[in-house]
C-alpha cells in the first residue's frame, strides 16, 4: 500500500545508517532534490549511494556528499565540470568510487527488481571494469557476468502520481526512476501533482503503484 506523506521529512523517515540508497536523476533532470534535502536533515550516515552522476555544483546529491553522509558512490559518470564537491572528496580519499557503465547500472538495478540473479553482457569485456568478474563464451562471443544492485531505499522524482502510487514522468526526467523503483525495498517518490485513481491513463502509467511505498507532493 502506498502512503501519501505530508512532508519530505516524513517521506524519508526511518532510513538507517549504512543503507544503500538509489538516487534518481540524470544530471539534475529528475533529481529528487526535496527528498535529498530531507535526507540530509534526517541524518542517516555511512550511506552507499547509487546514481548516474556524483552531484552537480552544490545542490542535491552534491549537498548530501558535502554533508559527509556518503561512504561510497556507485555511478557511471562522476567527472563533470561542476562536480567539485565529489572531486575534492575523492582526491582526499574521503569517498569510495565504483565506476559502473551506465547500461550495467540500469540493467543491474532492473535485475534486482526482476528477480534475475545475474546476467551476461558484452559491455566491459576486455576492460578494467570487467577485471575479476566471471566471463563466459556464449554462441562464440565473450560475455561478462554482472550481478544485481538491490537497495534499501530509492529516492526518485516523478511528474504525477495517483493515490495508489501509479506514476507518470515528464520527458527525459524519467531516466533511472522507473528502474530504481523496482530495485529498492522502500521506494520514496516526490511528485509535482497527486490525483485520484482513474485520472491517469492506464495505458500510459510508467511505474505501477506496486513499486511505490511513499509519495510526497512538492512545489516545483
Amino acid at each position: 500500500m502506498t502512503l501519501l506523506c505530508t512532508s519530505a521529512d516524513e517521506a524519508v523517515s526511518g532510513i538507517a545508517d549504512g543503507s544503500t540508497v538509489l538516487v534518481g536523476g540524470f544530471g539534475t533532470a529528475g533529481m529528487p532534490f526535496d527528498l535529498i534535502y530531507a535526507l540530509i536533515r534526517q541524518g542517516a550516515r555511512d550511506l552507499t549511494v547509487v546514481a548516474n552522476n556524483a552531484g552537480n555544483a552544490d545542490a542535491g546529491l552534491a549537498a548530501l556528499l558535502a554533508a559527509g553522509r556518503v561512504r561510497k558512490i556507485m555511478c557511471s559518470f562522476p567527472r563533470q565540470t561542476d562536480s567539485w564537491v565529489f572531486d575534492e572528496l575523492y582526491r582526499s580519499g574521503k569517498i569510495e568510487l565504483e565506476v559502473v557503465p551506465q547500461g550495467n547500472l540500469a540493467e543491474r538495478m532492473r535485475a534486482a527488481g526482476a528477480g534475475i540473479g545475474g546476467f551476461y553482457t558484452r559491455t566491459g569485456v576486455g576492460t578494467l571494469l570487467a577485471e575479476g568478474k566471471d566471463t563466459r563464451e556464449i554462441d562464440g562471443r565473450t560475455y561478462v557476468l554482472e550481478l544485481p544492485i538491490a537497495a534499501d531505499v530509492a529516492l526518485i522524482s516523478a511528474h504525477t502520481a495517483d493515490t495508489l502510487g501509479n506514476l507518470v514522468y515528464r520527458k527525459t526526467a524519467r531516466n533511472f526512476a522507473p528502474v530504481m523503483a523496482t530495485a529498492a525495498t522502500t521506494t520514496v517518490v516526490q511528485v509535482r501533482h497527486v490525483v485520484e485513481p482513474g485520472v491517469l491513463d492506464p495505458e500510459a502509467v510508467v511505474t505501477p503503484g506496486i513499486y511505490v511505498d511513499r509519495i510526497v507532493q512538492v512545489s516545483s
Partner: protein, 227 residues
Amino acid sequence: MSVVSPSIVEHTDRGPLGRDEMARVLAGDIPRGAYVNLGIGQPTTVGDHLPPESGVIFHTENGMLGMGPAATGDAIDPDLINAGKFPVTELPGASYFHHADSFAMMRGGHLDLCVLGAYQVSASGDLANWHTGEPDAIPAVGGAMDLAVGAKQVFVLMSLFTRTGEPKLVRECTYPLTALRCVDRVYTDVATFEITGGDEVLVRETWGISFHELRSRLDVPLIVATP
C-alpha cells in the same frame, strides 16, 4: 590477380579540416533514416549537419528517440536534455523510455550507428576513450562501453594527433580500453580511415597531407582501396 591502383582522394591543396568540417564529413556518411547516437562533446556537433529533413533519428541514452536540435530561449526545458545534459527539443514522432529500456535498445544492436570521441583507436578497432589512466584522474565511463559494443557501426571523430604530436591511431592502445574491435571508421582532421578487421587500416581521404606523408607519420600499416 587484378592490378591494384590507389583509390583515395587526397586534398593536398588545403590544410586540415576544421572541427565543423570534420563533423560535416562524418555527417555526409550517415544514411538517410538511420537511428544514430551522438556521444557527448565534439560528436554532438555532427547533429548540426543532419537537420530533421535528413530523416536521421537521434537516440539519446538518457531515454529518448526523436531528439531535435538544441533548445534555446523559451524552448529550454530542464526536463528535456541530451546525454551531455544540454537542453534539447523534441521532434514529431519522438518517444521517451527509461534507462534500462534505453540501454537495451543500445546494447541489443538496434542503433545503426554511434559517433564517439577517442583518446586512441588501434589498427584492429580497439577503442580507448574513457580514462587517461593517470593515477589522479577521476574515471568516468558513462555510456561509452555500452555504445561501443552495442551500435551496429561505431564511427570515431577525433583529431589524428594529440597537442604534442602523438598519433591517436595506433598499433595497440596504451590507454585503458573502452571496448575491443568495435570501431568501424575513424574521422579525423587530416584523414578518414576504415578499420578493415585485418592488420592494415584503409585510408579513404586526406586533407592537407598526402597518403605517403600520412604513412610516414603513423606507426600503423595503411592501405588504400582497390578501385
